[in-house]
């Protein structure tokens, strides 16, 4: 049963040089047909689900690309379809990604009226030089204008994105950016370390030595100041890069991290069927990436899948660790035991104690989590915990516990 829906809107006015998302420029004319395909895809999923209208969805997320290129009527028709097939109620979080400068107050107000509850703004920086380095299509003034309009529309939550670790960025720049974001009225911040992704123009520049980036020590200082500033201003770090005031964390992202199922609609979208797959431990699937191919596949009446992967026990456990340990809640012992048939804090008691003594993790009666001081080396902590399961003695027991559950 899907708890949420992700809709991918792969259109952008301009492609940023660091971005490796599935996005296309100059294809905006496809939008009406594309959205029709998305709704058709939704129908295909609904036809497969035994009881699509069981419980209302917890979350719907319009991501991209640039969803704010969508005319409100397309958004409205799509939400209507979703409501009809899956159910939306006042608890459903409906997020919408917006790029500054692509919308005016009227457009935002229209989105709000259609039921959008949460706006996520691709602001990236409050410094024009840095926006230029990042190849962004907007100015700081436009960001401010969009924020002002959004606040007027009274969305339930407003989120802004910031990026650190950018060429030429100093610690003082980052601190100033943080200050702006913290005081702009947004209840949610996503603070990302710029990552050089393969195949992007940035990766090419980097390979040619033309993209100097801050060293690890500076990145560390930037992240630490983010942790300190957000905490001082009443934002909780509920995941490595996500910070929110009380009750403003993003439900949609939490679906991903908590291993819940969701439908991914649109070109290149990924979905997850939580109890699907051969082992009943979940199936990940993803759609054709090219919008035209995606659209014509949907027309044939088949799910436009490009591929899928059934999780086996090892993969499912690795993912659970990878995702849950990024969050402040951490790995919920009870939920883990329900899913895999054993409580890792019991099975790995001694080894986890060693990791606790190294101050990498903390274990309490509810959860295993990365300790506050080690959030900055979360990947390392995850590797250490995950490798415990690779021990033969441990794996022999783990697979034994999981076996009867899978059979049942």
């Amino acid at each position: 049963m899907a708890c949420g829906i992700y809709l991918h809107i792969p259109f952008c006015g301009r492609r940023c040089p660091y971005c490796d998302f599935n996005t296309y420029t100059g294809m905006e004319s496809l939008i009406p047909d594309y959205m029709q395909a998305v709704r058709a895809e939704l129908q295909l999923h609904a036809a497969q689900e035994p009881n699509p209208a069981g419980e209302p969805l917890r979350s719907i997320y319009f991501g991209g690309g640039t969803p704010s290129l969508l005319p409100p009527n397309e958004v409205g028709r799509t939400l209507e379809s979703i409501h009809k097939l899956y159910g939306i109620d006042d608890q459903t979080e409906i997020s919408f990604e917006v790029n500054p400068g692509t919308v005016d107050g009227a457009r935002l107000s229209a989105y709000r009226k259609l039921g959008i509850t949460r706006l996520s703004l691709g602001s990236q920086s409050f410094r024009d030089e840095q926006l230029a380095v990042l190849g962004r299509d907007h100015s700081v003034a436009q960001t401010r204008e969009t924020i002002e309009q959004a606040l007027k529309c009274d969305f339930r939550s407003l989120s802004v994105d910031l990026m650190y670790g950018v060429t030429g960025q100093q610690l003082c720049h980052w601190r100033a950016d943080l200050e702006q974001a913290l005081s702009c009225g947004a209840e949610h911040l996503s603070l990302y370390n710029l990552t050089i992704e393969e195949g992007t123009p940035y990766a090419r520049l980097r390979a040619e030595g033309k993209l100097p980036l801050p060293n690890e020590g500076l990145l560390r200082d930037m992240y630490i100041s983010a942790l300190e500033e957000t905490s001082a201003r009443g934002f909780e770090r509920y995941e490595v890069s996500n910070f929110a005031r009380t009750d403003h964390s993003c439900r949609h992202n939490r679906l991903y991290w908590e291993g819940r199922g969701w439908l991914g609609l649109g070109a290149g979208a990924h979905g997850f069927t939580a109890k699907g797959g051969a082992a009943g431990l979940g199936r990940r699937w993803w759609n054709l990436r090219l919008p035209r191919k995606y659209m014509s596949a949907v027309k044939t009446g088949h799910l436009p899948w490009a591929g899928s992967e059934d999780l086996d026990l090892r993969a499912a456990i690795d993912e659970e660790l990878l995702l849950s340990l990024r969050t402040r809640r951490g790995l919920r012992r009870e939920r883990f035991a329900e899913r895999f048939g054993f409580d890792p804090a019991v099975l790995l008691k001694n080894s986890l104690k060693e990791l606790s003594e190294e101050a990498l993790i903390q274990v309490d009666s509810q959860a295993i989590r990365v300790s506050e001081g080690s959030v900055i080396i979360t990947d390392y902590a995850v590797q250490r915990v995950a490798s415990l399961f690779d021990r033969r003695s441990v794996w022999a027991i783990v697979s034994q516990h999981a076996e009867p559950r899978r059979a049942g």
């Binding site: 020590g217 890069s241 993803w286 995950a386 490798s387 794996w395 034994q400």
Partner: protein
């Protein structure tokens, strides 16, 4: 070896899997009881000369294994043997063969290992035989282990039938190889069999030669029972199983027997022969080879080489047993999880039941805690034991770099055996250190002789002989320190001769050498398990190479990790592993998960085999770094 390698996984019991113990004997066919119709023989060969394939063909020709059941290396039942394409344990199978003279013969074929590490197993198997098929690759010719095996056969006074295998290969030179065998190995080739185990050519001729040329066993049926234990192993369903050769008398089911060395008495609970799956028989008579099962649980009771006799009418003399196997290299085995110590001890004691050739005793390392110092026949043997411990007993182990056994003479005149570097006595007390040396025989085509000599000289060797086997093939003899050849010598030899050289060696004795102990300090703390013994003149270079290699293998940690190599208090090399400052993926959303998981799989690889030493994670590879410093 039935049973071995099929041990149930730790804690997993599977009631559906019934152990198909024995087929009932199909009667007369297996009851060929006339001693003159029995032939006990082995196949000996240099590695890769086609021994196991020839055995496979014999099984097919005699109809023992149908096409459908046939898989390559049929007699290698251990998972590891198949994977590595080698025979580790000797194996036996009874074939029934109707010879051209019209009579049925019982042929007991004993398959033997080919690797130099397992020469010990070969010599035991040969004690059960009257003859051997000496298989030589018709293209490669006589190789080092051909000769080594021939010596073993001669020691046991066995009839030898030379077989030229792979004669169908384009590079085969049967005439030349025949000459080599006659002139240099000294084996009569008048009844040479030309064969191709691959195509089946000559397989029948081999069987005929076995019948005609190998004498039947000479035991006396009426004499008091004398049975030689060739091998014994523990099977979790049957208890101890012995591979035996009845020398005199008749061994029967329900008979009361006595082990000559312990004088303990037991009852024969069943007897079987492998054909090739175990088939129960009522008795084993003089000259026969088979399996003896008594219900004994303690393998120490069935010492390999011991004589079994009748409790009622015991024989007077014990049979010649076997020399104890010589452990040539030692390494420490430590559980990664200290709480696995008992499990490791149990696993070692169980494994020892199937492998008399390794020794083990408790060891304590300051860095690695409680573990065991184990002695092995060689490096391959060590790898196999380690792998079996991990696979069959689900243990995660750290193995320290293997070392040879040194001898220390102290100033007070006493002597000590040094089985690990950290045992080297204090320099103030130490008179000198001696290292073991070997005589190595290297067979090599003459155009590669130069590089072989160069390699041996680099390895502190002293040439002691050189002989031409033919106009193109040379045997080079070198006196070498064993420590120099035990690790990567064979690989280097192969690569500098394009794979054409073959090697055999024998231990010759100890010799005083200027050796020093090189210690490694990680974050200022000496890690005893990383210490090594090396030649004084090489200590500095080795120290530099080792610290550099360690830097490669020890991952970055939360703090800076200096690594130093030192002789006594003098640091001879150092390097630094920088700390990581930040290590966290920025984004992980719905579409990233599979990719991030695959990344995690890659990153954590090797981390499961990692030991925390003074807060520094040291992976298994680091402990073996010394073996790879020349890469």
């Amino acid at each position: 070896m039935f049973g071995a390698g099929r041990r149930p996984r730790f804690g997993v019991s599977s009631p559906q899997r019934s152990y198909r113990l024995f087929r009932s004997a199909p009667g007369s066919e297996l009851a060929l009881d006339k001693q003159r119709h029995i032939r006990n023989f082995a196949i000996i060969a240099h590695v890769d000369h086609g021994k196991s394939t020839l055995a496979d063909r014999m099984l097919e020709v005699t109809g023992l294994v149908g096409d459908r059941e046939m898989k390559d290396q049929y007699l290698d039942s251990m998972e590891l043997e198949r994977e590595r394409g080698i025979t580790i344990k000797a194996n036996t199978v009874r074939l029934t063969y109707q010879a051209k003279d019209g009579e049925h013969y019982q042929l007991n074929l004993i398959d033997t290992p080919g690797h130099v590490d397992f020469a010990y197993e070969v010599s035991r198997s040969l004690a059960a035989c009257e003859g051997v098929l000496l298989v030589v690759d018709a293209a490669q010719g006589v190789e080092a282990q051909t000769l080594a095996n021939v010596y073993l056969a001669l020691e046991n006074d066995l009839e030898m039938i030379p077989v030229l295998n792979k004669v169908d290969l384009p590079g085969a030179e049967p005439e030349l190889v025949r000459e080599q065998i006659e002139d240099h190995v000294g084996v009569d080739c008048s009844h040479l069999v030309l064969a191709s185990a691959k195509t089946g050519l000559g397989v029948e001729e081999c069987l005929e030669a076995v019948v005609k040329q190998i004498p039947p066993p000479s035991g006396v049926l009426e004499a008091p029972l004398q049975v030689l234990i060739i091998d014994s192993w523990y099977d979790s369903y049957l208890g101890v199983v012995c591979l035996v050769r009845v020398v005199h008398g008749v061994l029967a089911k329900r008979q009361k027997i006595m082990m000559m060395s312990t004088r303990n008495q037991w009852e024969v609970s069943s007897l079987a022969v492998k054909a090739p799956s175990p088939v129960e028989v009522a008795e084993l008579r003089a000259g026969e080879v088979g399996l003896l099962i008594t219900g004994i649980k303690d393998i120490a009771e069935t010492r390999v080489g011991d004589t079994v006799t009748s409790a009622l009418h015991p024989c007077e003399d014990v049979l010649d047993g076997f020399k104890d196997p010589q452990q040539m290299v030692y390494a420490g085995l430590f559980p990664i999880d200290p709480s696995d110590y008992d499990a490791l001890r149990d696993a070692l004691s169980k494994l020892a039941l199937n492998d008399a050739a390794f020794s083990w005793q408790p060891e304590t390392s300051e860095a690695l805690g409680f573990g065991f110092r184990c002695g092995f026949l060689g490096l391959l043997h060590m790898e196999i034991v380690q792998e079996r411990l991990e696979r069959e007993y689900q243990l995660d182990l750290i193995t320290t770099a293997p070392n040879v056994v040194y001898q220390a003479r102290l100033k007070d005149g006493s002597e000590e055996v040094i089985r690990r570097p950290s045992d080297v006595p204090d320099p103030l007390k130490l008179q000198d250190l001696s290292e073991p040396r070997v005589m190595a025989r290297i067979h090599v085509p003459n155009d590669h002789v130069g590089s072989v000599i160069k390699l041996c000289e680099e390895k502190r060797g002293r040439q002691s002989g050189m002989e031409y086997l033919s106009s193109t093939k040379v045997v080079v003899e070198y006196d070498l320190p064993f420590a120099e050849i035990v690790f990567d010598f064979y690989d280097k030899l192969k690569s500098c001769t394009r794979g054409y050289a073959s090697l055999d060696y024998e231990f010759t004795g100890y010799e005083v050498a200027p050796l020093v102990k090189l210690d490694v300090l990680v974050r200022g703390n000496p890690v005893d398990a990383l210490s090594l013994i090396c030649h004084r003149d090489r200590a500095q270079t080795t120290g530099q190479k080792l610290t550099t290699k360690l830097k490669e293998f020890i991952p970055r940690q939360m703090y800076e990790v200096p690594i130093q190599a030192a002789i006594g208090k003098k640091v001879v090399a150092r390097t630094n592993i920088k700390a990581f400052r930040k290590n966290v993926t920025a984004k992980c959303y719905g579409g990233d998960i599979s990719r991030k998981r695959k990344l995690l799989e890659k990153q954590k690889k090797g981390k499961a085999r990692m030991k925390l030493v003074g807060n520094v994670e040291i992976p298994q590879e680091a402990f073996f770094a010394v073996l790879r410093i020349d890469e």
